[in-house]
């Protein structure tokens, strides 16, 4: 049962990712990106990473995609215009993506036999390494978020 849901949601997330990258309309691309992120959260659930799945849905689906859609609301969608598709960029993109995909698969060939331990890791299990072994990176991330917030406000401010 777990495997069925894993393959289902993995397929869904890749399909929605393809839609979000190739769709002409940016709003529809953003909404399918949201669907892709929620499907990825479900993939994490099937692997037993419960807390990461929840955080994926909240942060990616609830914060980042909504941020993009809000920024799109301030723009005039009709002024975006059409993107000319060039054969050379399509060929370069396809070739480089295929090379990267095959090299990731080649790196994974060593791991075809092992098995995933699907023990559920909730918030309490993650808190132990997060607040003991990785306490300093955690604090640094809080400073990073503060700097990003101040920087976003400073850049987005309207000049008087």
């Amino acid at each position: 049962m777990r495997e069925v849901f894993f393959y289902l949601f993995a397929f869904l997330s890749v399909a929605f990712a393809v839609i979000s990258v190739t769709h002409k309309n940016v709003i529809k691309g953003g909404v399918s990106l949201l669907a892709s992120f929620v499907s990825l959260g479900a993939v994490y659930f099937t692997a037993g990473a419960e807390f990461i799945g929840i955080v994926q849905v909240i942060v990616y689906g609830g914060a980042i995609v909504v941020l993009y859609l809000f920024a799109l609301m301030t723009m005039d969608l009709r002024s975006f215009g059409r993107e000319p598709l060039r054969v050379i960029s399509l060929a370069a993109g396809g070739t480089i993506s295929l090379i990267i995909f095959l090299s990731v698969l080649y790196g994974g060939l060593k791991f075809t036999s092992g098995s995933i331990r699907t023990a559920i890791s909730g918030a309490g299990d993650i808190a132990l390494p997060l607040f003991y072994k990785f306490l300093l990176p955690f604090e640094v991330v809080s400073v990073l978020l503060l700097v990003a917030t101040v920087g976003a406000v400073a850049i987005g401010r309207r000049e008087e």
Binding site: R2, A49, Y60, L67, L98, V104, L105, V141, L145
Partner: protein, 99 residues
Amino acid sequence: MTPFDFFILSGLLFSVGLFGVIVRRNVISLFFSLELLLNSANVLLVGFSKLHGNLFGEVFVFFVLAVAAAEAAVGLAVVVALYRYRKSVNTEDFSLLRW
């Protein structure tokens, strides 16, 4: 469910995102593709965390999420400011510094 399945999922997401970064000319779509690249790394981190049976990979996913949120905030501020100057989000209109 073997670890190789996580490699396939991650590789597919990364190649789709990289294709978008190379082909698209709309800055918002470029940001969508960048998020896909970050997510493909997260998939492999969760997979390895579950393979090894410790939680360090999942803690790292947490940090990647924070960096992605910061990147989205600052990047969108830059894009909105650029749109105010040029009334465009097409990367080919921002060629002032191109050699």
